[in-house]
Amino acid sequence: MSNHEEHIVPYESHLKILVILLLMTVITITVTVIDFSAWTIALALIIASIKVFFVLTYFMHLKYEILIFRALTLLIFLVFAVVIVITFLDYVYR
């Protein structure tokens, strides 16, 4: 218990993350309103990924967990990316 209790995350840092996430939501909407044609969805997804990174790291306390939690989370996202690539290879070269 002691180990975990050392990491009491202050309220303010959660609020800061919330403000960052809200700003990024505004940016996402702005990007799609401006419309960079093909780049719009790419930008929106990049911003979404950054938001997800913030939620995982701070709200979900991955920053304070032991290494294996972070390693596995990274691995899962990599596996998912590989699945997407393989699926598209299948569709494109069918």
């Binding site: 218990m1 002691s2 180990n3 975990h4 209790e5 009491i8 995350v9 202050p10 309220y11 959660h14 609020l15 993350i17 919330l18 996430l21 809200l22 939501t25 996402t28 909407i29 799609t32 719009t40 969805i41 929106a44 997804l45 911003i47 979404a48 938001k51 997800v52 939620v55 995982l56 701070y58 709200f59 979900m60 306390h61 967990e65 032991i66 294996i68 939690f69 596995l72 989370t73 899962i76 996202f77 998912f80 699945v83 997407i84 699926t87 598209f88 569709y91």
Partner: protein, 201 residues
């Protein structure tokens, strides 16, 4: 249990929760892949169909979920600081946000139903294939997501009651941590659903 064993069992409990969350990522991940493939085949229709969704409602729901995510994270801080009052208040904000989200979703869906856009409707049968695919995915993905909101809401209400009667406290709050993790996952999924469904017009 001594404190070391207790610490280890909490880590194990959280680890189990994370493994469950990984399976959830793949559950939604599969749908995202279906979305990506269908979109690459029916690009124009997906863009046109997405124009039927209300960006304001979607953005509002995004903000609600982000706020609820931060308050549930802060309620862990409150429990650690042995501030029961603050913890229950923060959790109550999360629970209210969850209800607000569902109410929004209800109105959003009813409006679509009112326009005759729902799976199997006469209007949908007349539409071309890309539209049908988009709206089927829209209903399935937001429906599955809403189901997760209902489950998360139920878990958080249980945690709220347990904090109130002292079963979840600064010495033992792994249930709150795991409930919060589940709630954050619901938020994570929505972070991707929002741009993909509402913002591609």
């Amino acid at each position: 249990m001594n404190s070391v064993e207790e610490h280890n069992s909490n880590v194990t409990a959280r680890f189990g929760m994370w493994i469950f969350l990984f399976t959830e990522i793949f559950l939604f991940g599969g749908l995202f892949i279906v979305y990506a493939v269908m979109r690459s085949k029916h690009d124009a229709e997906f863009h046109a169909a997405a124009a039927h969704l209300n960006v304001v409602v979607g953005a509002f729901n995004t903000i609600i979920l982000l706020i609820s995510s931060s308050t549930v994270a802060m309620s862990i801080t409150a429990v650690q600081k042995q501030d029961k009052k603050m913890a229950t208040r923060l959790l109550l904000v999360t629970i209210l946000c969850a209800f607000l989200f569902l109410i929004n979703k209800y109105f959003e869906w009813s409006l679509k139903f009112h326009h005759g856009i729902y799976p199997g409707s006469d209007v949908m049968l007349e539409l071309n294939r890309g539209y049908v695919l988009f709206f089927s995915l829209y209903y399935f993905m937001t429906g599955l997501h809403a189901l997760h909101i209902i489950i998360g809401l139920t878990i958080l209400i249980i945690v709220y009651l347990k904090i109130n009667n002292g079963q979840v406290n600064h010495k033992n709050y792994v249930l709150l941590e795991n409930g919060a993790l589940y709630w954050h996952l619901v938020d994570l999924i929505w972070i991707f659903l929002f741009p993909l469904l509402y913002l591609i017009t």
